[in-house]
């Protein structure tokens, strides 16, 4: 029972990091970013590269990896997404193509074998009679602190107010002088940084290989739909729901059924309550 509580918390916090970034970009910029999973993979591989080849200390490598991926997100928004905004399918297509390029580049650079990334905390800790690796507990702690910082940033700062304003009404925001493009780039950078953080944190205990971004991205999709597209609060609640549901299934039934949980949840949500738990109903 305690195992389910603890491992569920770990997986939910990772899902929350991924889904919040994804929903933020969609809610604010109306951009369906299909390269979100690649940012996650790049975070993990960036740390791997910088700790092995450049022999940087882990904390420095991890921070650098997150910053580089965030910069990449901003560059992608400026160069590829901005000129195509408003041409229908072009934005999801170009992000998808970027995801393919990144996956192939990782494959060529690192090969298809699984890579090991060092843990921040190697020791394992006993919590409520369960042995948990320190890295997993660290993941939970960092995820929720990052998300709290994001909440404070969005709700308590000027930049954050601009983000909220844009998510509510783009034109009205433009009229009061909010620099729309700059805010979009900022949001994309934050989203990429969140995904990369998830990659850096989970790399030591999950598999690191070129195609690692796909499944987490589908999970992020599912969570965002269940929580309501564009709703950060909904994403967090849905991440907890799905994270625990998956852990429960993994322990009580079988691990091969876990991936079906989120997909089935998506379907049920779309049929029963299309707007999601906290979404605003638009048709």
């Amino acid at each position: 029972m305690n195992e389910i509580l603890i491992y569920g918390a770990v997986i939910s916090s990772v899902y929350a990091l991924l889904a919040v970034g994804f929903t933020l970009v969609f809610g604010v910029a109306r951009t369906l970013n299909l390269a979100h999973g690649s940012f996650y993979a790049l975070g993990a591989y960036g740390t791997f590269l910088m700790t092995t080849s450049l022999r940087l200390p882990l904390t420095v490598a991890a921070t650098l990896a997150v910053l580089i991926v965030a910069a990449l997100g901003v560059v992608m928004e400026r160069v590829l997404i901005r000129p195509l905004r408003g041409t229908g399918l072009a934005v999801p297509m170009v992000t998808l193509a970027v995801a393919l390029v990144i996956e192939q580049a990782l494959f060529l650079g690192f090969g298809s074998e699984y890579r090991n990334v060092p843990s921040f905390i190697a020791a394992s800790v006993g919590v409520g009679g369960v042995d948990v690796s320190g890295q997993r507990l660290f993941t939970v702690a960092v995820s929720w602190s990052v998300l709290s910082c994001l909440w404070v940033f969005v709700h308590r700062t000027r930049q954050g107010s601009a983000i909220l304003a844009l998510s509510q009404d783009r034109e009205a925001a433009q009229y009061v002088g909010i620099p729309v493009d700059r805010v979009y780039a900022l949001v994309m950078g934050i989203s990429a940084a969140l995904a990369a953080t998830a990659g850096v944190l989970t790399a030591p205990f999950l598999t690191v290989q070129p195609g690692m971004g796909l499944m987490p991205m589908i999970k992020a999709f599912s969570i965002v739909i269940v929580g309501g597209l564009g709703s950060v609060r909904g994403s967090i609640v849905a991440a907890l729901l799905l994270g625990y549901a998956e852990t429960l299934i993994a322990y009580k039934v079988s691990t091969s059924w876990t991936e079906l949980v989120s997909l089935a949840a998506v379907f049920t949500t779309l049929v029963l309550r299309p707007a999601g738990l906290f979404g605003i109903r638009t048709r």
């Binding site: 195509l84 399918l89 393919l100 494959f107 739909i225």
Partner: protein, 308 residues
């Protein structure tokens, strides 16, 4: 030359080239590649009919392709049916799936449909892996009987199917029915305001697009003589969209030609070895960026309009 005449001339020219092609470039291997190109053409054209006209992007076309291929495989290896039954059965199964997915999700606008179709294909793929005792798991079902004895025969069957399917889909999209589908793509709210039940139109268009995709899946199964879970993967859905995109979305014929061109491009890039997929995806980024409306259909539009 008027545009309609130019279109007919283009269609005849294209068909002639495709009929003659395997007679010039000989060899079993190349005929196999060409056949694959035609099958991909069926997949892409059937995607483009629903998603291209109505603007509701289906990110799970692999659902219909995989369902068609598995239907063919089950009929052929488990129930020992005549291979020719595969084609109608696969189309019917695909239509059934399209109704199950389409009815709950097509009433919504926005990206819900895209995400739900993506999820539906992923669910079916997981189920195929979970029930591995029946579906063969990762390896899939092997030993499907070929439809026709000679590879050249299968090539011409696929060519005939592709031309027939594209012709039917183009005829529908040129009819008043297709006009309403295009109207939904342009402005769904206005279309509803003028009294059309847009959900019904979208669901029926989805089913019409699913049938050839299932048929294409069955053709693929009888070409490769096996059906595996990789047919249900996101990569299949994504490559279908890529092909339609390069061809020019909403044109149907462009999607089919785009699929054939990309199949040839992949073949040509075989010399690049492991760099192949990187080059392929980089080309894709450039095409999407510089030609957001695709290559084939806009080019043809410009060419056929020169004489006017």
């Amino acid at each position: 030359m008027s545009r309609a005449r130019a279109n007919i001339a283009g269609a005849i020219g294209f068909t002639t080239v495709m009929v003659v092609l395997p007679l010039i470039v000989r060899g079993r291997y190349f005929i196999g590649v060409f056949t694959l190109g035609l099958i991909y053409g069926i997949w892409a054209a059937s995607w483009d009919f629903m998603s291209g006209l109505t603007g509701r992007e289906n990110f799970g076309h692999a659902l219909f392709i995989g369902a068609g291929a598995y239907t063919a495989a089950f009929l052929n290896t488990v129930w020992m049916a005549n291979p020719w039954w595969s084609l109608p059965a696969a189309a019917c199964v695909a239509v059934a799936f399209s109704l199950v997915v389409g009815i709950p999700t097509l009433r919504l606008s926005g990206p819900y449909f895209a995400l739900a179709t993506l999820a539906a294909a992923a669910i079916l793929q997981r189920l195929a892996l979970i029930f591995w005792e029946r579906t063969g798991g990762e390896d899939g079902l092997q030993g499907i009987a070929p439809l026709l004895g000679s590879p050249l025969g299968l090539y011409y069957l696929c060519l005939f199917s592709l031309v027939a399917i594209v012709a039917i889909l183009l005829a529908i999209s040129a009819s008043p029915w297709g006009l309403i589908l295009r109207a939904i793509g342009a402005d769904e709210l206005a279309c509803r305001a003028s009294g059309h039940n847009t959900t019904l139109y979208k669901v029926v268009a989805f089913a019409i697009g699913a049938a050839p995709a299932g048929l294409g899946g069955a053709l693929y199964a009888h070409h490769q003589l096996q059906a595996g879970p990789q047919l249900l993967s996101v990569f299949v859905s994504v490559s279908v969209i890529t092909m339609a995109y390069v061809g020019g979305i909403g044109s149907v014929y462009g999607a089919a030609i785009g699929a054939i061109l990309l199949t040839f491009l992949t073949e040509l890039l075989r010399g690049a070895g492991e760099w192949r997929l990187l080059v392929y995806s980089a080309v894709l980024v450039l095409v999407v960026f510089f030609r957001p409306h695709g290559l084939v259909a806009p080019l043809w539009h410009a060419l056929s309009g020169v004489g006017e």
